[in-house]
């Protein structure tokens, strides 16, 4: 039979021993008493004594044998079974004598005390019933006796069982209360209304150091509270708090308590009235809790107040608490997120997968971690959080809690990103970037800084830019300006020379940004610079070039306006001296190749007082370099002393202090006509640019001379032209006079002859006879022909000058006038195309033109059925007129001849014709820029075409 722990605890060795002693003494005495009362009872004394001896033996053994000591409860039970068996045996032997029934009841009752377990007790009872039942078959007594006996045993069993159970429960409760009182880490005090402590749990010593006996007196609370409050009165007040709660109600309060060592402990009291007159207080040490709580309170307060967001989540990472900052930062309220996973709430599309994997990896490894993560607010805005997540583990290394503290680093992250971008820009730009601290000492430079200046970051760090890049040669004004700007705390831009590590100089354009802090003090300088040496050079070159162009332009103007070569030479020599910085003297020669002499046209010196140093004329023999010039080659003497010559001009120049010179030929049509010589008072004075300028001017001068020559030629030609014009004018005048003479003076005698012939015929008709009259008529006809010829010549000669009159001429009108004035045979068919054009011309000439052509056509048209057609068609820029007749026609070989003056195809006697008409037509048409021609077929007719400009 196994006894459990509880039994061992219940039955102390002492109680067993007591039991054994009582059994050993009581058992034989009871037996003796029965024997004395009823002698018939079978109850041997030896038997009783034996049993008593066993008990005594067991009792003694408990002192000696540890085995028995340890197994005492088993032994007691064994002994108890032996005792019971012995008594049952006696009952059997004595036929269930009621005396033994009493013994049996006593044993059963004792069993109920010994067995602390229902099961064991029931087994014991069944054992007893079984034995009695078996015995009852062997006993020879009445059934009634047997039944009464057994019934009494059973009843006593049931009663003891009930009692046993009630007691067992009580005992258990007591045990637990005791246990609680003893084991609870609490101060348990019961006191009456007189403030006398009636009970103090012993473990009060563990809590406050005082022995519980010390407190079992009236002033227990004074002792406990002695250090907690300064005055008796306050102690009283605290005590009153305990006493005032006398009702059934329960209350809690917390006070400070001093230990016997003077430590202060916080005790939380639970006060309740124990019974009418007693008060139970149970105090538990909450010192740690108190401070923890206070800390927690503060902590919570802090957590709530701090700007960092705090998320507390359970083992499944579901949010259990967040602080106010969480709401402020993310926009989610506590109620919204509780029970949800933080990651489901906060993460979004742009959250980096790497970060998520990193977090999951850490959770898997159950390690706390720190990271920066892109999250999203309720409004969907991106926020960067720097989070610290602590994983709280229990003793089994299971995750209990997650505590995440996060900071909104969006701004700094953005700044950081910006800074990164800027830094990339700063690093990769070709511009020099230099950052200096408030003392203007360099803290950072970029790669381009090194490229441009040659200084590495290490060279530059903690140095003043000025010390690094400037030196004594730097413009003082520049430095002053920069100092002023720094003093004014204004950013600025400057262009200046700077010096590289190797001492070489470069132009730099710098933009200095002065960064001020919140107090308006200089925080740093950010300088961005670029090497503008090339640009600056180009600029200088350009301005030089512009200046050069200006001078050349002025020169060109001077040349154009110049009246003489002397003037040109002077202005060119002056310009050259201006343009070429190191030149000191400029000389311009012209050459007389016949006399083999060079003639000085201009000799200009920069030193104004210098007199002309050369003779006006130099023989070719004395002229150094004349051969080259004659060949059209230029030459440059960089050092005159190195020239190996005895030529006098060089010697003169040396005396004059000229150390070098450059000579350039001027040619016109491949022939040397002049030269330019630029001298300098130093050796090697001219660079390529100077030479270029001289070359440019030389070619300019060539052009100028060419122009001058051309102008001269033009002037000469003009004179010739003027003379010719005058001649022409005279001729014209003469022609006019001639015309006059022809028309008046030649015709007057003709007329006189004619008149006289008429007078003779009239006055002397009878004397002349027919023959004489015929001859006079012939004379008259020749006079008339002569007159016509004169008229024709006159007309033709007048056409030599194009008409200056230009008016609107309607050809239709012109033709109708002509047809009216002409004598036209009635048989003639004259077709004139209607709607002929209107042109700009001299109407008289147009009239002459058509009159000649039409009368010509009429003259040559068929004699029987004369027909003339006049038409016109549009021929691009011209009008093409045609006058067609049906006459005898003209042979092709005569096409040209007919338009020549005085040319006729028939003898004048055959057909009266001056031969002028068509030549007049040709002249008029050609005067108007047109053309006249003829197409003809013999015996069919001729067509005359002519073009007139629209």
């Amino acid at each position: 039979m196994k006894l459990n722990k509880l039994n061992i605890q219940l039955y102390t060795l002492f109680s067993f021993r007591l039991l054994l002693v009582i059994s050993s003494i009581l058992y034989p005495i009871v037996g003796g008493l029965y024997k004395m009362a009823d002698n018939t009872l079978i109850d041997s004394f030896l038997h009783r004594l034996g049993f008593s001896g066993v008990c005594l033996l067991a009792y003694i053994l408990t002192f000696t044998s540890t085995t028995i000591k340890n197994n005492i409860s088993k032994i007691v039970i064994i002994l108890f079974y032996i005792l019971t068996a012995d008594i049952l045996h006696l009952c059997y032997l004595n036929n269930f004598n009621y005396g033994y029934l009493l013994s049996l009841i006593i044993v059963i009752t004792a069993a109920s005390i010994i067995f602390r377990n229902n099961k064991f007790y029931l087994i014991y009872n069944l054992f007893v019933i079984a034995i009695i039942s078996i015995c009852s078959f062997f006993i020879e007594s009445s059934y009634i006796d047997k039944t009464i006996f057994i019934t009494i045993v059973v009843i006593s069993m049931i009663v003891t069982f009930l009692i046993f159970n009630v007691r067992l429960n009580l005992q258990k409760q007591l045990f637990f209360s005791d246990k609680i009182v003893k084991q609870a880490n609490a101060i348990i005090i019961v006191f009456d209304t007189n403030a006398n402590a009636t009970f103090v749990a012993p473990q009060v010593k563990d809590v406050i150091g005082y022995n519980h006996n010390e407190l079992l007196k009236k002033g227990w609370w004074k002792i406990m509270l002695q250090h907690s409050s300064n005055s008796y009165k306050t102690q009283q007040d605290v005590y009153k708090k305990f006493v005032d709660i006398q009702d059934d109600s329960e209350t809690q309060l917390k006070t400070k308590v001093a230990t016997n060592k003077g430590e202060i402990k916080w005790i939380s009291w639970k006060v309740s009235s124990f019974d009418q007159n007693q008060i139970l207080v149970i105090g538990s040490d909450v010192t740690v809790n108190h401070f923890q709580e206070r800390e927690l309170k503060q902590f919570k307060h802090i957590i709530s107040e701090i700007n960092s967001l705090v998320i507390v989540s359970d083992e499944k990472n579901k949010i259990t608490w967040v602080n106010d900052s969480f709401t402020r930062i993310t926009g989610y309220t506590f109620e919204k997120v509780i029970g949800k996973k933080a990651e489901d709430v906060l993460r979004g599309p742009q959250t980096s997968c790497e970060t998520i994997l990193f977090i999951e990896e850490n959770i898997r490894k159950k390690e706390s971690f720190h990271t920066e993560i892109l999250n999203y607010t309720k409004q969907g805005e991106e926020i960067w959080l720097s989070i610290n997540t602590t994983l709280v583990l229990n003793s089994q290394k299971d995750i209990v809690q997650f505590i995440t503290v996060g900071n909104d680093i969006t701004e700094s992250k953005q700044n950081q990103q910006k800074m990164e971008e800027l830094s990339i820009v700063a690093r990769s730009t070709d511009n020099l970037v230099m950052i200096a601290n408030k003392d203007n000492l360099i803290t950072w430079v970029n790669g381009s800084f090194t490229d441009i200046t040659g200084y590495e970051l290490n060279d530059a760090i903690n140095k003043a830019p000025r010390a690094l890049l400037r030196n004594e040669r730097t413009d003082k004004k520049e430095i002053e300006y920069i100092n002023n700007q720094i003093a004014k705390k204004e950013s600025f831009q400057a262009e200046s020379y700077n010096y590289r590590k190797d001492g070489s100089r470069f132009w730099m354009n710098i933009v200095v940004n002065i960064i001020l802090d919140d107090h308006g003090e200089i925080e740093k300088f950010i300088t961005i610079g670029s090497d503008i040496t090339e640009a600056k050079k180009n600029e200088e070159r350009l301005s030089h070039y512009v200046k050069r162009l200006d001078i050349i332009h002025d020169l060109d103007k001077a040349i154009l306006s110049a009246q003489s070569l002397q003037e040109i030479a002077n202005s060119i020599m002056n310009s050259l001296l201006q343009l070429i910085p190191k030149s000191d003297r400029a000389v311009f020669y012209t050459f007389d190749h016949q006399k083999k002499t060079a003639i000085v046209i201009a000799d200009i010196s920069k030193q104004k007082n210098k007199e002309r140093v050369l003779d006006d004329n130099i023989d070719y023999d004395d002229f150094y370099g004349i051969e080259k010039l004659l060949n059209g080659e230029e030459y440059y003497i960089p050092d005159i002393k190195k020239v190996d010559t005895k030529k006098p001009d060089i010697q003169v120049l040396i005396k004059q202090g000229i150390k070098s010179y450059s000579s350039h030929p001027l040619t016109y049509k491949g022939k040397l006509f002049g030269s330019i010589h630029i001298g300098s008072n130093i050796v090697h004075p001219f660079n390529n640019e100077d030479k270029e300028i001289i070359k440019e001017i030389t070619s300019g001068l060539n052009i100028a001379v060419f122009q001058m020559k051309t102008q001269e030629t033009i002037a000469i030609n003009n004179v010739a032209l003027n003379t010719k014009n005058q001649d022409l004018e005279q001729l014209n005048q003469e022609l006019k006079q001639f015309s006059y003479i022809v028309s008046h003076d030649l015709k007057a005698p003709l007329r006189a002859i004619m008149s006289l012939a008429d007078f003779i015929i009239k006055d002397h008709a009878e004397n002349l006879g027919d023959d004489g009259k015929y001859q006079l008529d012939l004379m008259k006809s020749r006079i008339l022909r002569m007159s016509h010829l004169i008229d024709g010549i006159l007309q033709y000669s007048r056409l030599s000058k194009p008409s200056e009159i230009s008016k609107t001429v309607n050809i239709n009108n012109v033709l109708s006038e002509i047809t009216k004035s002409l004598l036209i045979k009635k048989s003639t068919i004259l077709n004139i195309q209607p709607n002929l054009p209107i042109i700009q011309a001299d109407e008289t000439r147009i009239q002459q033109l058509f009159q000649n052509l039409i009368s010509n056509a009429l003259k040559f048209a068929d004699t029987e059925h004369p027909k003339v057609d006049i038409s016109c068609r549009d021929a691009d820029k011209y009008w093409e007129f045609r006058i067609q007749d049906n006459g005898i026609g003209i042979e092709k070989k005569h096409y040209d001849r007919i338009f020549q003056i005085f040319q006729t195809l028939k003898s004048r006697d055959e057909m009266e014709n001056t031969g002028i008409g068509l030549s007049i037509v040709k002249k008029i048409v050609e005067n108007y820029g047109g053309k006249v021609w003829v197409k003809s077929e013999i015996d069919v007719g001729s067509t005359f075409f002519f073009l007139l400009k629209k």
């Binding site: 028309s743 003076d745 006189a752 004619m754 008149s755 007078f759 008259k780 008339l784 007159s787 007048r798």
Partner: protein, 137 residues
Amino acid sequence: MDKNKPILLVEDDLIDAMTVGRALKEVNITNEIKHVKNGEEAIEYLNNSHNKIPALIFLDLNMPKMNGIEFLKERFVHGEAYKHIPVIVLTTSKDGDEITECFNNCIAGYMVKPIDFYDFIEMMKSINSYWTLNESH
């Protein structure tokens, strides 16, 4: 035309003067013909108060000493009276600036001297009829 007044013919060429005379006779103009050789003589004639004021002046342009145009201008210098005497200019050619200048100096008309005498007579006829017409009005 007033038959009592003479016609003043200013012409240097004798044959031309003859031609004019004959032509006038041909068309039955019987007025006395006063023939002077040039402009100067014509002015002299007009200035001479003994001479009858002519009914008409035939003026040749091309003359020695004082030509026709000079005469035309000169006559204004010598008094208003001469203005009323009609002047007919006899010219060799109708072309040129001369005719224009003549008209500018107040002439009654001009005649191109034809080479054929009969043409001349025709012209004289037309002049006569012109005057006849003028007077009948």
